[in-house]
Every structure is written in C-alpha cells, then in structure tokens.
Amino acid sequence: MNEPNFLPEDAFPGNDDPPRKKPSPTDEAKSARFRTRLTIVLAVLILVPSMYGFVGKFYEFVRIYRGDWEGSFAIAPMLNYLLASGGFLCLFFWATANRMFHDIEEPKHAMLDNEQRLDQQLGGKP
C-alpha cells in the first residue's frame, strides 16, 4: 500500500496550499531598494574585475605575440579564453542594445506565471 503521498500536498506548485501573506507596499518598496543597491554593488565588484581579467589576458596575448618566449606555449589556452570571452562580450553588447536588460525583474514574474498556468492545465495536480 502507498504511504500518504507527500509531493502533491507539500511540494507541488498549483496545489491547494494557503496563499502566502503578502508583504505591505512599504516593505515591498524597501526590499526592492535594497535589492537594487546590492545588485549594483555586486555588479561593480564582479564585472569590473572580470573586464580587468579580460583586458589582462588580451595584454598577455599581445606580449606573447610580440615575442615573450616565456609564455609562448600558453598561447593555446589563452586564445581559447579570448575567443570564448570575446564572443560573450559581443553577446553582452548585443543583449544590451536589444534592451534585454531593460525591465530586468520582469522575466522572473512572467516565468512563474507561465509555469503556474501550465500546471493548471493538469488541474493543479501532477
């Protein structure tokens, strides 16, 4: 005999769990401000050094190209890195130009909404 099943009640989206208490608009605004500030701080802390890393590798590459014998055998991994990161740099610029980061928090709501609606096709149960 099956034991009391735990996924539909406890773990499944679209089930009959009571709705969560909604935070007040003031709390929501405060938390959104905090979120934005933290995102900006971490963006600067992460993306600036990573750009530095990219430029550094590029500089190493140029140095080696100009005949620094010590690092010449490292040219293969370095080229790999530069090609991959160069591609991502282009993608980043393309995404920015195409307003991919415009309403930056919107996709998370759209995704959740779609998920819940897809699950409702199954009557809220798997």
């Binding site: 099956n2 690092g71 055998f73 790999n80 591609g87 909404d113 779609n114 897809l118 199954l122």
Partner: protein
C-alpha cells in the same frame, strides 16, 4: 509586469516529451549505479579487499576511469539532458527543434558512453593483439585504442568525433526554441544557452588539442583548462540554470533578484575560463599565468556569493518548507555544500595550501562533494519532483525518499571530511620525506571510512531505485486536463 488579459498557453503535452525525459533519467540512473559500483571497487582495492583481484578486464585502474566517465557523461549528462527537455520547452513555450532528433541524440549519447566504457575496459587488451598493431602501423594510427591520455577526456580518440557531433546536435536542438524567444530572457535560458556553446568548445579543446595540436607543458595547460571548464562551463551553468528554474516554481515565488542572477551569469562567463591553470600550480607553466588563475579563482567566490544570496533571499521567511518539501531540501542542502566547496576552493588555490594538499586525497574529497554533494543532489531533487509526474503515480514510499536523502547527504559529507583529513595527513607524510609506503599505510583507516561512506551513499541510491520500481508498479493517478490551450508555438 504581466498584463491582465493573458494569451492562451500551449498544451504541456505539446511542449514536453515526458517519455524522453523519463528515458534520460533511467539511463542516468543506470550509469550512476555502474559508476558507484566501480567507485566501490576502487575503494575496496585501496584497502586491499578487492573481490575481483587478478581479473585483468576488471582491474581497478580501468574501473577508476569508468567510475569518473560514467558519472560525467553517463549520469550527469543524461540527467541534465532529461531536465532540459522539461525546462527549456516550458520556459520558451516552444518545443525543441525536433523530437526525432531528440531520440537520435538520446541513442547516440548512450552509444558514446557505452563505447567509452568498452574502450577503457577492452582497449588496452585489444591494443596488445598483433593484428591491431599491424592495422595501426598500416594506417599510421599511433594513438591508444583505449583511454585517451587526457584527464576527464579518457573517451577513446575514435569516439571523440561522434561525441563532438552529438554535442553540436544537442546545441541545435535546444538553441532553436531559445533563439526564437523575443524580449528579455529568464536567467536560466542565459545559462543554458552559454552551456551549449561552452560544452561544445570545451569538449573539442580538451579532446582534440592535446591529442593532435599541442604537446608537452602547453598540452598540460590545455588539459588544466579542460578539466576545470568541464566543471565550470558544462556542469555549473546547467546546474545553476536548473536551480533558477526549479526553486522558484517549487517555492511558488519568484527568484529574489533577477538582476543579481544576471550579474552572476556574466561574472561566470568572464571569470571562470580564467582559472583553469589553478590545477597546475607549482608546474613549469609561467608564474604570471598561475597567479592570474589564483586571483580569478578567488574572484569567482564573489560570483558564487551572488547565487547564494539570491537563493537565501528567495526562501527567506519560509524555512519551514525545508522540513516538508523534500526536493527543496535536496536543492538547499546542495547549495550549502556548494558554498563549502567554493570556500574550500578559495583556500586550496593559494600556493601555501597547495604545498600541503596537492596530489593528496583532499582533492578527491573536494571532487566528491562538488559532483555528488552538489550537482547530483540537485538532480535527485529534480527527479524526486518530476518522476511522479512522468509516470503519473505518487511516490510509493516517502520513507524511502527520506532515506535516500539522508544516506546521500550524510554519506557524502563523511566522505568529504574523511578524505580532507586524509589529504592533510598525506601532505605531512610527504613533506617529512618519509617513504611513500608510510603514507599509504597511514591512509588505510581513512580509506576504510571512505568505503563505508560510499556504501552508505550507494544504499541511499538503491532505496531510490527500489522506490521508483514500486512507484512504477503502483496505481495511476487521475488527471484533469480540461482546460483551454493554444497550439505550441513553432
């Protein structure tokens, strides 16, 4: 924000091929079982209790490679492909490019994994045959028929092109619905898209460059980049992408900050590939490259922090759910282990630390925590959540699901602590210039504990398999799909 009048969505059944997801999961679990048995065999060999001692084809050296390859390409790759067949169509509201192609990739991938195992096990014995040597000299093939001499790239040279083609087809099949997306993309799709490109490039770089293009130390540098990128640019983006998808839908609340998750993504894209050389500190690779790798490894901790902050922010105020929601518990336990491994990484990448732990069991402990404690645990969480939907039945036993969780979580943590400690001891034995044998004898008790920890993990997996079988035999659940839907978008 979403508008009030919502367009109809396609039918789930038109988006997701559930049968294929189930097949991928079953293949993954089969290879996991083989790999764990192989791991146990190697563990027994190290405590001089190998039951297959003397059987050449089943020698531990071959089985160690089967252990790691079956995990990477048999378990993780299959499980990820199954998860992606669920997540990508639902995220993009478009099916994959072709279901027929999906089935072809599924079969081709199993062929690749089985051939890899066959090559590793049978290759060296075949190589010794006269007719093979003759053919090799006739066609100027100087490579080994068995394992290729690249760590994690042991897939024999003759199967590499097939695997590379398979990865290309995977990218085409999944990228098609992603590139048809219009407007801002959800973070998981960024990760998946990147993973398809990175995995293809990484596999090609690691398996072809050292074999045909660059040799010596330069080949070593490429090898370092390869083993690191396999974890960082194949497993990590897929794992994170899946967590950004499954955690919010299970908690029924959006991820705390989508902006922060994108910062993490771009940080990973630019930082991660810089670190490969950190596997080869104290080697003839120039110091400026070694220092660059060290600094970027420490910097990646910041990237990891964004992920951890985001997931803590998402579950904040709802910790109770960890008790009753098993998939969420798998996910968050994996995240704690993830943070531990990354913290460990920041320490072990320093030259001071490397002096002690390089080549010791510390690294093996670290590898198990990250591969099993993090990514496998996330996969188990997803399987625990999805299997009832895939086979239309509720889990037969919650108790067995709980045992699977606790045996895995505790077992791998014991293994991690035990091997970490063993590594420190081994490091000091070697530093004292005592004979090698002394360090082997000194490691015995740690290796015995490792074997028991492995048995615990394996027992957990067996519970999961038994539960799955009993669930599959149980009664089917009634569904109620009467709801308006739109045809799937092309």
């Amino acid at each position: 924000m979403t508008s009030d009048v919502k367009p109809l969505l396609p039918r789930h059944d038109d988006l997701v091929n559930e049968r294929l997801v189930a097949w991928y999961f079953l293949a993954a679990l089969t290879f996991l079982t083989v790999s764990m048995l192989a791991g146990l065999l190697v563990a027994l060999q190290l405590i001089r209790a190998n039951p297959l001692d003397g059987v050449e084809l089943l020698s531990p050296a071959r089985w160690r490679m089967v252990h790691t390859n079956a995990i990477a390409y048999g378990f993780l790759a299959n499980a990820f492909l199954g998860c992606l067949h669920w997540a990508i169509p639902r995220l993009t509201l478009r099916p994959v490019a072709s279901v027929a192609l999906s089935y072809f990739i599924f079969s081709a991938w199993q062929f690749v994994v089985v051939c890899t195992a066959a090559g590793i096990i049978l290759g060296p014995s075949f190589q010794a045959q006269d007719w093979v040597a003759e053919l090799a000299s006739q066609f100027h093939i100087s490579m080994s028929l068995g394992a290729q001499g690249v760590e994690w790239g042991e897939t024999p040279f003759w199967i590499d092109p097939v695997a590379q083609l398979g990865l290309l087809l995977v990218a085409i099949n999944f990228m098609t619905p992603i590139v048809r997306q219009r407007g801002p993309m959800y973070v998981s799709l960024w990760y998946f898209m990147a993973a398809f490109v990175w995995t293809f490039l990484t596999y090609g770089m690691g398996n072809f460059m050292p074999e045909y293009v660059v040799g010596g130390v330069s080949g070593g540098a490429v090898g370092g980049l390869f083993i690191h990128d396999l974890v960082g640019l194949f497993v990590t983006p897929l794992g994170w992408g899946l967590m950004y998808y499954f955690v919010p839908i299970m908690l029924k609340r959006p991820i705390w900050s989508h902006g922060l998750s994108l910062v993490g993504f771009w940080g990973l894209a630019f930082f991660y590939p810089l670190q490969g050389i950190h596997h080869f500190l104290y080697t003839p690779i120039p110091m400026f490259l070694q220092y660059g790798a060290i600094i970027s490894t420490i910097a990646v901790e910041l990237v990891v922090t964004t992920v951890v902050i985001n997931f803590i922010g998402t579950i904040w105020g709802d910790g109770e759910v960890l008790k009753k929601n098993l998939p969420i518990r798998w996910f968050y336990c994996g995240m704690i282990y993830y943070f531990i491994t990354c913290f460990q990484c920041a320490l072990q990448v320093t030259l001071t630390f490397q002096k002690l732990i390089h080549f010791t069991d510390w690294v093996v402990g670290h590898a198990h925590l990250v591969m099993f404690g993090v990514f496998s645990m996330w996969i188990f969480g997803i399987m625990t959540y999805l299997f009832p939907r895939l086979i239309g039945r509720d889990w037969y036993s919650r108790k067995l699901c709980e045992i699977h969780f606790w045996f895995s979580a505790v077992g791998v943590f014991i293994m991690f602590l035990d091997l970490g400690l063993a590594g420190v001891f081994q490091g000091y034995y070697w530093a004292s210039l005592a004979p090698w044998d002394v360090s082997v004898t000194g490691s015995q008790s740690f290796w015995v504990v490792r074997a028991f920890a492995g048995l615990m993990m394996f027992s957990g997996t067996l519970c999961f398999l038994v539960n799955l079988y009993l669930t599959w035999r149980g009664p089917v659940r009634e569904l109620n799909p009467d709801i308006d839907v739109a045809p799937a978008l092309a």
